[in-house]
Structure formats: structure tokens, C-alpha cells
Symmetry: C2
Subunit: 196 residues, 2 copies
DNA sequence: ATACTGACTGAGTGATCAGTCAGTATTTAA
DNA sequence: TTAAATACTGACTGATCACTCAGTCAGTAT
């Protein structure tokens, strides 16, 4: 592994676990065994290092999600939404550090002054909400989901799932124990009353 | 207003708007017009100042919520949950800074090593989720809400509402535009299918 | 052999940080 | 009036921060 790659990986863990301002460059230097000045050689500044990490987080999450959802086949639109919800929770566990980074406040603060950061964040959220929305649209066509504003209901499903995954991040409640109830709640929100 | 009170109010805004590590004590000194050492005289340390702020946030939120919910009368348990959801969104707007503070990562990080901090956070979340749960329980008695695990469904409603209010915090989406769909989603989640 | 390049480093630097402290003002109480 | 307690402050400190820079070194093209 190149030193640049090593720095990226170690910094991802530190920035997510401890936070951006709480991790001095000296910590990254110590943990990687790379000189502090080498980090600046590769990334120019601390903020730039963060952007590089965020870009990789974006690429990884989108690749994982799009990859899984496109190769899978679904019984119905409702099924697709349920699969997306499950996969979101699975991914939040598998890519714990990357999701933790997105659950912190710093990226959104930086996004206010750094357009590249803002673009990365928007890409991630657009990708995720789009997948839920595509499921809703499909479900409305095949009759498994009722007639309701697609984007709005996709956002609500997303905020519900993300909120549950946040419980785990913050050590507040056990997200796994809520899984069945979460899926049941999605079904109830999306159910098509008019058919049958 | 006493200087101690002034420090508390200014620090609340700075810690929520800019973050804990991003606000040096010198900024608080400048904004309040109080000497930096005076802040340490009253609060001993920066961390202690934060705890004092969090305690006030806890008291304010619980007072507002319990006060509003106990004096109000409800048509049904379902109505009570809907009122709680609406009031939560209203309060997140009215007490923007206090809620923003709770949407940051620092309190939860501090809670891992500071038991007083952890206790305050737990008080806040217990109070909020309890109110939703009381509504669900009431609804299950009066038949307006179906038979489902009360605590779990209360947590799901809470995570959904909190997620929506977070959209506003992060400038991602317009929370107000989702209000109607949110209430509708709550009704669908809680609906009693078996009656009538 | 020479010239050049990119990767890398140790030794700094000025700025900024939270916190201290000796001393001064103000209030309170006897 | 005075003594004690409380409120407050400016000047300081040592630690830590992100970042710089002159220079080393291995590889590579000419």
C-alpha cells in the first residue's frame, strides 16, 4: 500500500471516530509512521485531506448501493424499497466509519463555504433518496404502493432509516431490535389502500 | 442580566452555530465583553461550561414539552401523537440553537467519558420518547392506534420526526414542505386495522 | 556521468489555545 | 467603618496546532 493510501485510510478512521478538529495531524503521523510533512506533501492542507476522504466515501457508498440495487431483481416496487431499507442498515454497519463521518456536523459546516464538499454531500444524498424514489415510482406502477408524492415519501422513508442507523452511531438505542418494526412501518406508510 | 447568565446565552449560540472545538474562549470573551478569566471563574473549565449549557437545554426542552403536553387535551391517543410530532417540529424551530447543539456529535462523544453529560442526554431523549409512547399507549386503549410494540413504534416515530428536523439543520431539504406527508405517514404507521 | 524528478523528512515557526494567578473592584454583613 | 467574601480582570504561560522549508534520497531519462 502506498503511503498516500495509508494516510487516507487512517485519517478516515480518525476523522470519523474522533472528529476533524479533535484529530491533530501529529496523530495521523504517529499512527501511519509517515512524517507529518509527507501528509502535507500529498494533500496540501488538512481541509484538502478531508475533501479527499469525503470523495472516496461518496464513491464507495454510491458504488455499493447502485451495484447492489441494479443487479438485484424485485418482486414489486414495495419490495424494492424494503430491500433498499435493509441494505442501507447493512451498509451503515459494514461501512461504519464512512457513515459516521456523514453523521458528524463538520462536513455540512464545511459545505457552506466549500462547494466541492457540498457537491460530494449532495451526490451522496441524491443517490440514496433517488433509489428510494425509484422504488416508490415502480411500486406505484405495479400497484404495490399507493398514490402519494414520490419524492416526499422517499425523503420520509430515508429520514426514518437514517434516524434509526443514527441511534446505533450515538449508542442511544439498539437499531437491530427496531428492524422488524421499521420494515412494518415502511409497509404501512407505502401501502396501497385503493386497490384490491 | 448577570455576567454568568450572559456567558451562558452567548456560549449556547456559539457552541451550537460554530461547534465546541471551533469556538475559542476568546470569542466568548469578545462577544460578551466579559474577561476570559471571568468565564473560568464562573465555570472552572470549558467542558464544565458546556455541561452547564446542556443542563439548561435539558431543563428548557423538558419544561416546554411537558408543559405543553400536560395542559392540552386530546381527542384520542393518535391525536396526542400527532400533536407531539407537530410540537416537536415547532420547538425545533423555536429553540433552534438548543436542538442544533443536540444534533452535533460533541455531546455524545463527551457522554462516553462524562457521566453527567450522559445523564442529561438520556433525560432529554427519555422525556421525548416517553411522550410519544404515552400517546401510543393512550391510542391503544381508546382504539385509535393498533396493537403494536409501544416503545419500538415510539422510537420509530421519534427518529422520523428528528430526521426531518435535521434536514432543516443541515440545509438539505425543506422540512416544512414535508409536514403534511409526515403527519400522514404517522397516521398510517399507527392506524388500527382491526377495529371498525 | 549528469541532470532532473517525485517522494519524503526533521527541524523548525508563528499563531492560537485553555487555563492560571496575583491583584483589584464591588458587594455584603457585622 | 471595617473586614470578609465574592466578582472580576489583565498579563501571563506552556502546550499544541497547522503548516513551511531546506534539503536528502532513490529512481530514471539523457
Amino acid at each position: 500500500m502506498t503511503k498516500k493510501e495509508l494516510i487516507l485510510q487512517v485519517a478516515t478512521v480518525f476523522f470519523s471516530k474522533n472528529g476533524y478538529f479533535e484529530t491533530p495531524m501529529s496523530d495521523l503521523s504517529k499512527k501511519t509512521g509517515v512524517a507529518e510533512s509527507t501528509i502535507f506533501y500529498h494533500f496540501k492542507s488538512k481541509e484538502n485531506l478531508f475533501i479527499a476522504i469525503l470523495e472516496r466515501v461518496k464513491d464507495d457508498i454510491i458504488k455499493e448501493f447502485e451495484g447492489y440495487m441494479t443487479e438485484k431483481e424485485f418482486d414489486s416496487g414495495l419490495d424494492m424499497v424494503e430491500v433498499a431499507v435493509s441494505f442501507y442498515l447493512y451498509l451503515a454497519g459494514k461501512m461504519e466509519n464512512q457513515f459516521l463521518l456523514l453523521h458528524r456536523h463538520y462536513p455540512y459546516k464545511l459545505a457552506e463555504i466549500n462547494p466541492v464538499c457540498r457537491a460530494h454531500l449532495e451526490s451522496i444524498y441524491d443517490c440514496l433518496v433517488d433509489i428510494f424514489e425509484r422504488g416508490v415510482l415502480l411500486g406505484q406502477k405495479d400497484g404495490s404502493i399507493g398514490n402519494m408524492p414520490t419524492r416526499k415519501v422517499a425523503l420520509i422513508i430515508f429520514s426514518m432509516v437514517d434516524g434509526i442507523s443514527r441511534f446505533k452511531t450515538y449508542n442511544l438505542y439498539d437499531a437491530g431490535a427496531l428492524y422488524n418494526q421499521l420494515i412494518e412501518s415502511c409497509r404501512r406508510i407505502l401501502k396501497n389502500d385503493k386497490s384490491e
